[in-house]
Amino acid sequence: MSTRMIIRRLGGGLLVLWLVSILTFLLVHLIPGDPAEVIAGENASQADVERIRTELGLDRPVLTQYVTWLSGVLRGDLGHSLFTGKSVVTSIAESAPPTLVITIMAIVLAVLVGVSAGTVAGLTQGSRVDRLVSTLATLGIAMPSFWLAMVLVSIFSLTNPWLPATGYADLGEGFGTWLSHVILPSTALGLATAAELARHTRGCVADVLTRPYVRTARARGASGAWLVRRHILRNAAIPVVTVLGLQAGRLLGGAIVIEAVFGISGLGTLAVNAVLQRNYPVIQGYVLLCAVVVVLLNLIVDLAYGWINPKVRTA
C-alpha cells in the first residue's frame, strides 16, 4: 500500500475518533434533566450536586467545556472518578491487562480453530467433515458467549475440578496458573468469532477452488499442502482478514459479559460499574479507548490487506 493511501486511511481514522470524542463528550449533556443532579443521585445534598457540577465543568459554556475536556484528553488526562477520585487513566491502566490478554487469546484461538476448520470444510465441500463444521458454526453463531462460558464452567470447574471457575491470575504467578485462568474465558469469548471465521473461510476457500488459477497450479503439478498454502489460502485470506478486523472489535464488547461470568476485574467490569454508578468520566474514557483500539485495528487490517493483496500494494 502506498504511503499516500496509509495517510488517507490515517486521516479517516482520526476524523472518526474526533467525531467519537464529540459524541462521548455529549454523553453527559444528553442526560434528561440536570446532569449534576442525576449523577449525584436522589439522596445527594445540594453541596454534592454543586461539587459534581464544578468537577464536570457543567457550569461553563458547552464549547468551553468541550475544548477543555478535549485538550485534557489529548494530554492523556481523562479526568477523575466521581466517587473514588482516582484518575481514569490509572483505573483503565489497572483494568486493561486481563481484558487485553483474554481478548488476544480469544483472537488467536478463533483464528486457529476457525480458519483451519473453515479451510478443511471448504476443501472437502459436501463431506461429513464439512457438514459437521457448518453445523457447529451455525450453532456457535447463535450461542450467547456467556452461556457457553457457564456451560464450560459447569463442565470444567464444577463437575470436574480441573480449572478455576473465577478470577484472573497474572503471568507473574506462574505460566500454569495464568493459563488455567485464561483458557476458559478466552475459549468462551472466541468461539462465536471462530464460528464466523469458519463460515467465512469455508466460503472463501470454496470460491477460490473454482478459480482458473487453481486449475493452472494443479496442471503444473501442485497439490496437497503446497497447493493449499501457496494458491488457495493466500487468496482466500484476503476477504477473511477483513472479517477478522470486524470481529476483533466485537470481541472487545463480548469481553464485558465474559468478565462478568468469570469475575475478572477488567475493562468491562470497570465500564459496567461506571454505568450503574453513572460515573461519567470513567465511561467516557472507556468509550474513547475502545474507539481508538477499533480505529487502530482497522488500520492494521488495511495494512495487512495491502500486504496480502498485491493489487492493493502496488496500486
Binding site: L23, M143, P144, F146, V151, L246, G253
Partner: protein
C-alpha cells in the same frame, strides 16, 4: 453489508403473484426454514397464551422446594426460590419476542427513512448520516450500548432502545445501498420524470423493491438483539428482577451454579433455538430471493 438484487424494469413490485407470498413459500419449502418458522410460531403462541398454559404461577415461590430436579410436576425443575422453571421460560418468551421487536423497531425508525432518503436524494443527508454511521459503527455494539445506557439508565426498555440505536447505522447502510441500486432502474427514473413526489417515489416504487434485503437484515437483527438483551440482562443493565428473561434467568442460574450446575441449560437452549430460528429464516430468505452475501 451490502445486499443487491438484480432487477429489471418495469417496476417488479407489481407482479402477478405477490413477492411476499413467494418468499414465504420458498422459505417454508426448505426443511430448515419450515422448522425454524414452526418454532417461532410455537414461541409466539406460548407467549400469547402464557397465563392459560403455565403449569405453575411463574412468580409463585416455594422455598421448601428450591432447586428441585426434573419431574412430571416440575418439568424443568425449580429455581433458587422454588419457582417453576418451565413456567418462567414460557413467561420469558414474551420478553424474548418483545425485546428484539423494540430494538429492531427503533433501528427501523431511524435507519429506514434516512437510508431511503440518502439513497434516492444523496446530498447533505447522505453525507452527514453516512459520517455519523461510520462513527457509531467504529464502536463495538456492546460498548456503544453501554454508553447509551449510561445516559438512559438501566432497564429492559432502555437497553433495547440502546441496542436499536446501535443497530440503526448498519440498517441505514443496507437501506441506502439497496435504494441506490433500485434508484438507477428505469421505472424509478420514469416515476421521477412524470413528477412523482419524493415521498411517493420512496413508498410506492422503492420500498417494495428493497423489501427483500431489508427483511433479511431485520430477521438477522432480531436474533442479534435477543443475544444483546440476554447479555445486558446478565450484567444487570437489562431486565430487572423479579421479571424473567432468559438472560436474567441465566444470571440467577449462574449465581447458584454451585447448588444446581445444570440449571444453566434450559434458558440457554431456549435462547439458542430462538436465535438459530431467526438466523435460519434470514438465511433462507436471502437464498430465496437470490441475494448475494457480502460485506
Amino acid at each position: 453489508m451490502t445486499l443487491v438484487t438484480k432487477r429489471s424494469s418495469p417496476n417488479p413490485s407489481v407482479p402477478r403473484s405477490s413477492p411476499a407470498g413467494r418468499i414465504v413459500r420458498t422459505v417454508l419449502r426448505r426443511p430448515a426454514g419450515a422448522t425454524a418458522a414452526g418454532f417461532l410460531i410455537l414461541l409466539v403462541v406460548l407467549a400469547l397464551a402464557g397465563p392459560l398454559i403455565y403449569p405453575h404461577d411463574p412468580d409463585a415461590q416455594n422455598l421448601g422446594n428450591r432447586f428441585a430436579g426434573l419431574s412430571w410436576e416440575y418439568l424443568l425443575g425449580t429455581d433458587e426460590f422454588g419457582r417453576d422453571v418451565a413456567s418462567r421460560i414460557i413467561q420469558a418468551a414474551r420478553i424474548a419476542l418483545a425485546a428484539p421487536l423494540i430494538s429492531v423497531g427503533v433501528a427501523l425508525l431511524i435507519g429506514l427513512p434516512l437510508g431511503l432518503w440518502a439513497g434516492l436524494r444523496r446530498g447533505v443527508v447522505d453525507a452527514v448520516a453516512g459520517r455519523l454511521a461510520d462513527t457509531v459503527l467504529s464502536l463495538p455494539a456492546m460498548v456503544g450500548a453501554l454508553a447509551i445506557l449510561a445516559v438512559l439508565g438501566p432497564g429492559l426498555v432502555n437497553a433495547m432502545v440502546a441496542i436499536g440505536i446501535i443497530f440503526a447505522p448498519g440498517l441505514f447502510r443496507v437501506v441506502r445501498g439497496a435504494t441506490l441500486a433500485v434508484a438507477e432502474e428505469t421505472f424509478v427514473h420514469s416515476a421521477v420524470a412524470i413528477g412523482s413526489p419524493t415521498r411517493r417515489t420512496l413508498w410506492v416504487h422503492i420500498l417494495p423493491n428493497i423489501a427483500a434485503p431489508l427483511l433479511v437484515q431485520v430477521t438477522i437483527l432480531m436474533g442479534v438483539a435477543l443475544l444483546a438483551e440476554a447479555s445486558l440482562s446478565f450484567i444487570g443493565l437489562g431486565v430487572q428482577p423479579p421479571d424473567a428473561s432468559w438472560g436474567s434467568m441465566l444470571k440467577a442460574a449462574y449465581v447458584n451454579q454451585f447448588d444446581a450446575p445444570y440449571s444453566v441449560v434450559p434458558p440457554g437452549i431456549a435462547m439458542v433455538l430462538t436465535v438459530l430460528s431467526f438466523n435460519t429464516i434470514g438465511d433462507a430468505i436471502r437464498d430465496a430471493v437470490g441475494l448475494r452475501r457480502g460485506r
